[in-house]
C-alpha cells in the first residue's frame, strides 16, 4: 500500500505507455487498456493527500496534491482513457497507443499538480504527445493542422511558464492557488496564466485550434483528444480563477457563437468540435459565477461531458472508420446498416441536449440554476439559448444527417465489436449518471443540496427541447432549414492561414518592387557615370587625348599662380 500510495498519479500510464514499444504489436492495444485499468485502481486507492514535496534551485515544489477537485478529474480522466482504449483495441499502430497513454497520463498528472512548474511540465507533455494523434492520420492536411496545433499548444505552455516565473518573482512561491483577489485586478502573473489556460480552454478568438485539429485526427485519436486537453484547462481554471467575474462574459460568448457555426458546418466531426466549444462555455460560466452550486455544477458537467462527448466522437469515428467520411452531404440512411452505432449516437445526442434521465440534464441544470440563483438574468437567457442551440447541432443535426435524412445508398458493416462495446459502456454511463446522479453528486467538491428532478425542472427543460425539435420539423417542412452544402467555413484560423501569409506575401511583393526600382535606377546612374568616364578618358576624350607642351605649360603656370594667390591670402 505504501508503495502504491507514493506513485505519482499518471506516472504509471506514462511509463507503461513508453514500455508498450517493447510489446509485440498485437498486444499493444490490450496493453494500453490494462495499463489504464491498473492506473485507475492505483489512483482509486490514493487517499486525499499532498506528497512529493521537495526543493529545487531554491523553489519548493509540490508534485502531487490530491484533493476533491483532483480526485474527480483524475477519476473521469481514467474512465475516458479506459473507454477510448477499448475503442482503439483494433488499432495496430504503436505510436498512437504510446502517445495516447502518455497523453492521458500527463493529463492525470497535471490534474494532481500542486505547483505551477509541475503543471507546466505535464501541460507541455500533453501538447507534445497529443499532436501525434493528429499526425497519425498521415495526410498532408493533418500534418499541417498538427503543426498549427503544436505551435499554439506550446505557446500556451510558454505563457504558463512565464506566469509561474512572474509569480515566483512576486511572491517567492510557485504554488498553484487562486489568482483572484476580490476587489483587485489580476496580477501580471495571473494574467499570463489566465491566457495560457484560456488558449487550452478555447476561449473566443483563441478557440480555433480545436476545430482545426480534432476533426483531422484519427477516428480513435479524436476520442482521446476530446477528453483531456480542454477539460484539463477547465480544471485549472477552477483552481486558479474561480469567481473571476469576466469569465461569465467569456463563457456566455463561448456558448453562443459555436452554435451558429455548427449550423452550417458540413463535417460532422467539426460540428462536434464546435459543440465541444459550446459545452466548455457552460463550464466557464460556472467558474466565473464561482458559487458552491456553480462550481459543483461545473465539475459535474465536466464529468458528464467527457463521457457523452467521447460517446459522440466515438459514433462519428465509427462512421468515419466504415464509410471513410463524416461529411453530412455524403451520409444519410446509415441507421439501416449501423443500427447499434445509431442507437448509441442518439443516446449521446440526447445526453448532451440535456434530456431528463440522461447525464447532461443533471449537470447542466446545476450551472443554469446557479446563474438563476445569482439573479443573473442575461446569463440565464444566454444559457437557455445555448441549450436550444445544443439541441440543434448535437441533439438533432449529428444523428439526423448521419443516420437518417435521405438515404445516401451507402451500405457498410456495423462498427467493429470493440468500438460497439466502448460506445455501449459510454451509453450505460450516460444513463447511469442521469438516473443514479447521487453517486456523482457525492464526489463533488462541495456538499450538494440540489435536486434536479423537480416538476418545474423536468417540464420546463422538456418544453425547451421538444419545442426546439418542433422548430426543426417546422423548418424542414417549410424548406427553410439550410440544406447541407460542401464548403469550408472560415473561422479565426483564416487570420493565420490566409490573411497573415497574404499580408506577408504582399509586403514581400512591395519590398521586391521598391528594391527592384532602386537597383535599376542605381545601375542606370552607375552605367551613365561609367560611360561618361569612358568617353572623357579615351584617346579622343577631353581628359584622355594628347595635349601640346605649350598648352600644358600654360595650364601649369595658371595653377601655380592660383596656388600662390591662395597661399598669401
Amino acid at each position: 500500500m505504501n508503495v502504491v500510495a507514493s506513485i505519482p498519479p499518471g506516472l504509471l500510464m506514462i511509463v507503461g505507455g513508453l514500455l508498450l514499444i517493447a510489446v509485440p504489436r498485437r498486444f499493444q492495444s490490450v496493453g494500453a487498456l490494462v495499463i489504464s485499468v491498473l492506473s485507475l485502481i492505483s489512483f482509486w486507492m490514493l487517499p486525499e493527500q499532498d506528497f512529493g514535496n521537495f526543493e529545487m534551485f531554491g523553489v519548493s515544489l509540490n508534485v502531487v496534491r490530491i484533493d476533491k477537485y483532483s480526485r474527480i478529474f483524475g477519476i473521469v480522466f481514467h474512465f475516458a482513457a479506459i473507454l477510448a482504449s477499448i475503442y482503439a483495441l483494433h488499432v495496430r499502430d504503436a505510436k498512437q497507443h504510446v502517445a495516447a497513454m502518455i497523453y492521458a497520463g500527463a493529463a492525470i498528472g497535471a490534474a494532481c499538480a500542486g505547483d505551477l512548474v509541475t503543471l507546466f511540465v505535464y501541460w507541455e507533455l500533453t501538447a507534445i504527445s497529443s499532436v501525434v494523434l493528429v499526425w497519425a492520420t498521415g495526410t498532408e492536411t493533418s500534418y499541417r493542422a498538427g503543426m498549427r496545433y503544436l505551435v499554439i499548444q506550446v505557446a500556451s505552455g510558454v505563457l504558463l511558464l512565464s506566469g509561474a516565473i512572474f509569480q515566483f518573482v512576486q511572491t517567492g512561491s510557485v504554488m498553484f492557488g487562486n489568482f483572484v483577489v476580490p476587489g483587485e485586478s489580476l496580477s501580471p502573473a495571473g494574467t499570463l496564466v489566465l491566457l495560457a489556460f484560456g488558449i487550452k480552454c478555447a476561449f473566443p478568438l483563441l478557440h480555433n485550434w480545436l476545430q482545426d485539429s480534432y476533426p483531422k485526427a484519427t477516428p480513435t485519436g479524436t476520442v482521446f483528444l476530446s477528453a483531456f486537453t480542454t477539460k484539463l484547462a477547465v480544471y485549472s481554471l477552477i483552481r486558479g480563477f474561480a469567481g473571476y467575474d469576466p469569465l461569465i462574459t467569456v463563457g456566455c460568448v463561448m456558448t453562443l457563437f459555436p452554435i451558429v457555426f455548427a449550423v452550417i458546418e458540413n463535417d460532422l466531426r467539426r460540428v462536434l468540435a464546435y459543440s465541444l466549444n459550446n459545452q466548455l462555455g457552460f463550464m466557464v460560466v460556472g467558474i466565473g459565477i464561482g458559487s458552491e452550486l456553480a462550481l459543483n455544477g461545473t465539475v459535474a458537467h465536466a464529468f458528464c461531458h467527457i463521457v457523452y462527448k467521447s460517446l459522440l466522437f466515438m459514433s462519428m469515428g465509427a462512421v468515419l472508420f466504415r464509410v471513410g467520411t463524416t461529411k453530412a452531404t455524403e451520409l444519410g440512411g446509415l441507421h439501416k446498416s449501423m443500427p447499434w452505432t445509431t442507437l448509441f449516437c442518439v443516446i449521446g445526442a440526447a445526453s448532451i441536449s440535456g434530456f431528463p434521465l440522461l447525464s447532461g440534464f443533471i449537470s447542466k441544470s446545476m450551472i443554469i440554476s446557479a446563474a438563476a440563483e445569482e439573479h443573473q438574468l442575461w446569463v440565464w437567457i444566454v444559457l437557455l439559448i445555448a441549450s436550444a442551440g445544443v439541441m440543434e447541432h448535437s441533439g438533432i443535426k449529428i444523428p439526423f444527417f448521419a443516420f437518417f435524412a435521405h438515404d445516401s445508398g451507402i451500405r457498410v458493416k456495423e462498427a467493429p465489436l470493440n468500438m460497439l462495446v466502448a460506445m455501449g459502456l459510454a451509453s450505460i454511463m450516460c444513463i447511469g449518471l442521469g438516473v443514479a446522479y447521487p453517486l456523482l453528486y457525492r464526489m463533488l467538491p462541495f456538499d450538494v443540496d440540489y435536486h434536479p428532478y423537480t416538476v418545474t425542472h423536468v417540464v420546463t427543460q422538456l418544453q425547451l427541447l421538444m419545442f426546439a425539435a418542433l422548430a426543426f420539423v417546422f423548418l424542414m417542412k417549410t424548406g427553410l432549414y439550410p440544406e447541407e452544402k460542401r464548403a469550408t467555413v472560415l473561422d479565426v484560423d483564416w487570420v493565420y492561414r490566409r490573411a497573415l501569409p497574404q499580408l506577408v506575401r504582399g509586403l514581400r511583393g512591395t519590398i521586391d518592387v521598391v528594391d527592384g526600382a532602386v537597383r535599376r535606377d542605381t545601375t542606370v546612374v552607375l552605367r551613365s557615370v561609367y560611360h561618361t568616364a569612358c568617353r572623357t578618358f579615351n584617346e579622343n576624350g577631353i581628359l584622355g587625348r594628347t595635349w601640346s607642351s605649350s598648352t600644358m605649360t600654360f595650364w601649369a603656370t595658371v595653377l601655380l599662380a592660383i596656388c600662390l594667390v591662395i597661399y598669401y591670402l
Binding site: A372, H375, T460, Q463, F467, V473, R486, A487, T488, V489
Partner: protein
C-alpha cells in the same frame, strides 16, 4: 456498395407522419402541464412563470439560431478546397 433496398421503418412516410403528430401532441401536453404545477421559487418573477415560457423560447431560439447560420453562411462559406488551393 450503392444499392437502395426497401425503406426502413423510419423512412416510411406514414410513420414519419405519426412521429410528427406524436411530437406535436407531446408539445401540446407539455404546455398544458404548466397549468398543473407551480414553480416553488422562481428567480426572475413573471418571466420565468409566464405561461409556456420555455416552450416558445425554445422554438424562437432554435429558429433564430438557424437563420443566423444562414446569414453567416453568406459571409464566410467558401469552396471546399479553399485552403488547399494556391499552396
Amino acid at each position: 456498395m450503392t444499392q437502395h433496398d426497401d425503406p426502413s421503418w423510419f423512412e416510411r412516410p406514414a410513420n414519419i407522419r405519426w412521429m410528427i403528430r406524436g411530437l406535436v401532441l407531446v408539445c401540446v401536453a407539455l404546455v398544458l402541464a404548466d397549468l398543473f404545477y407551480e414553480n416553488p421559487h422562481p428567480h426572475f418573477g413573471k418571466l420565468e412563470t409566464f405561461f409556456g415560457f420555455q416552450a416558445w423560447f425554445g422554438f424562437v431560439a432554435f429558429v433564430v439560431v438557424v437563420f443566423l447560420g444562414r446569414i453567416l453562411r453568406l459571409l464566410i462559406s467558401k469552396p471546399e478546397d479553399y485552403y488547399e488551393r494556391r499552396r
